[in-house]
Symmetry: C2
Subunit: 286 residues, 2 copies
């Protein structure tokens, strides 16, 4: 399979081609009608690639969906079919295998979000579940454009954990505590136990705590610290996203808060977008 890959191409091109060939091969074994003619696939991404935004999961899901239709394993109108759920499971399962080809050991949460939509919580070993009470969050997404290597960052944090277990283990416990609090805060909003303002206050606290702990374990980057510092001048809480070490930062935008123009960070170094992660907005693209 490696014969198809042009060694002069960049890593994203290589792994995307490799995962495509993997999916094609895996599906052809089970296909009801084998693909006999050549075909052209055109992929365009509006997501920056390799910036911690799950562009590979997005790519894997559309590629799995397209090839499953082409192989006759799911109908083209699967999204309005009564068996929609099981078709989605099949798409998610193939997309996960493509993600494994790309990343080695992905959590599976990125492809799940791309397949099913909505907001998910994930615990390794326990899988993912839908985040209860999630309505909408407005985020400022800033791409520092600093390239990073997820594997190197994960390895470096792993070495720190081995060298300083009595420091790193409690930090990881604190991060787990942050995830649990975040999940409970959304649930609390759904149950009417807290107001939306209290939710935003709590999410802000958790974003700050989370970013500092990520900085502690060594996966931040001067470019991310700069974004954090600039956004904090407007009172925004910012954390790195993805594996860190560059890539993107997300800032929480309070409802009715700062205007988009006032907080745009697009300049020579960074590029930023204002996102509305509401359930309705996401559904539009499904």
């Amino acid at each position: 399979m490696h014969g198809f890959i042009d060694e002069k191409q960049g890593e994203p091109q290589k792994v995307s081609l490799l995962s495509f060939l993997y999916l094609l091969n895996a599906m052809q074994v089970k296909a009801t009608h084998r693909i006999k003619h050549g075909f052209t696939i055109c992929v365009r991404s509006f997501l920056p690639v390799g910036a911690g935004l799950g562009s590979s999961a997005s790519y894997s899901v559309v590629m799995a969906t397209g090839l499953l239709i082409l192989s006759g394993l799911i109908p083209a109108d699967f999204n309005t079919s009564p068996e929609r759920d099981q078709y989605l499971d099949m798409i998610n399962s193939y997309a996960f295998r493509a993600e494994q080809v790309i990343h080695g050991n992905p959590s599976g949460v990125d492809n799940a979000v791309c397949t099913y939509g909505g907001a998910k919580t994930f615990v390794r070993g326990q899988g993912f579940s839908t985040l209860e009470g999630f309505q909408s969050v407005r985020l400022l997404l800033t791409n520092t454009k600093v390239p990073r290597s997820t594997n190197a960052l994960v390895a470096s944090a792993g070495q720190k954990k081995e060298k300083y277990p009595q420091i790193m283990n409690p930090i990881l416990d604190a991060m787990d505590g942050i995830s649990v609090r975040c999940r409970d805060a959304f649930k609390g909003l759904a149950l009417g136990e807290i107001t939306e303002k209290e939710l935003m206050q709590e999410l802000g606290d958790l974003v700050v705590l989370n970013h500092c702990l990520l900085d502690a374990i060594g996966v931040s980057h001067p470019s991310l610290e700069k974004v954090k510092s600039i956004t904090s001048e407007s009172g925004l809480k910012t954390k790195l996203t993805g594996a860190g070490g560059g890539g993107c930062a997300v800032s929480l935008i309070p409802s009715g808060g700062v205007g988009a123009n006032a907080i745009s960070l697009t300049d020579n170094e960074n590029e930023s977008w204002l996102l509305d992660l509401s359930r309705e907005e996401i559904q539009k693209y499904l």
Copy 2:
């Protein structure tokens, strides 16, 4: 006693006068010869006041020493006396009471360092002990000149601990892990288990971890983050010192590392000094 205090004076002036009057009063009860004549005390501080450098402990120790001599409770040549140790204990005990007047609930480690010299470790409830294996550390000390309120910072961290125990408790455990590792690293050097280079590497890691955790619990400040960012460009590891929220930052200078001029941060905003915290340097002033 409050009648002596001019309300127009600043807080440092007020509490220093108050602690002086407290010491004078407390000693006169036990004095072998009561002070009958007026006297002038002139205090000059080369330490920035209220910047987290323990200037109050330094003040308390010299004031306790001077007044103990004046009251006939210790001899003027106490430092060369065979009973030196018990005179030092007495000085430390009075200095701690002066610190209580100034701070409310001080740990007692600052006055102990000022009284006995050397480097100390401190565990609340267990008291302090001498840091084994401590030879010397070169530090760059940068005063951000941002005023801060220790009480407000401690209260805010306390509120966070109450609101997010499942996050804050493990962070405090991690900080405890940092202190233990730091103590063990110096001991390791004394026992020849690690080299000085390994010690400096480990201290650097611990300084970074500690600062990030202090930032997480909310006691850093944009001015401190800026010092951290500037010094990190020269590869220096920096943490806040004292209660944070402004005040001073310390950067670890590797032996044979960056020249003092290259890393001076003295500008319109900050003032910095290069310090040699070797046992020999400290003894000079004792």
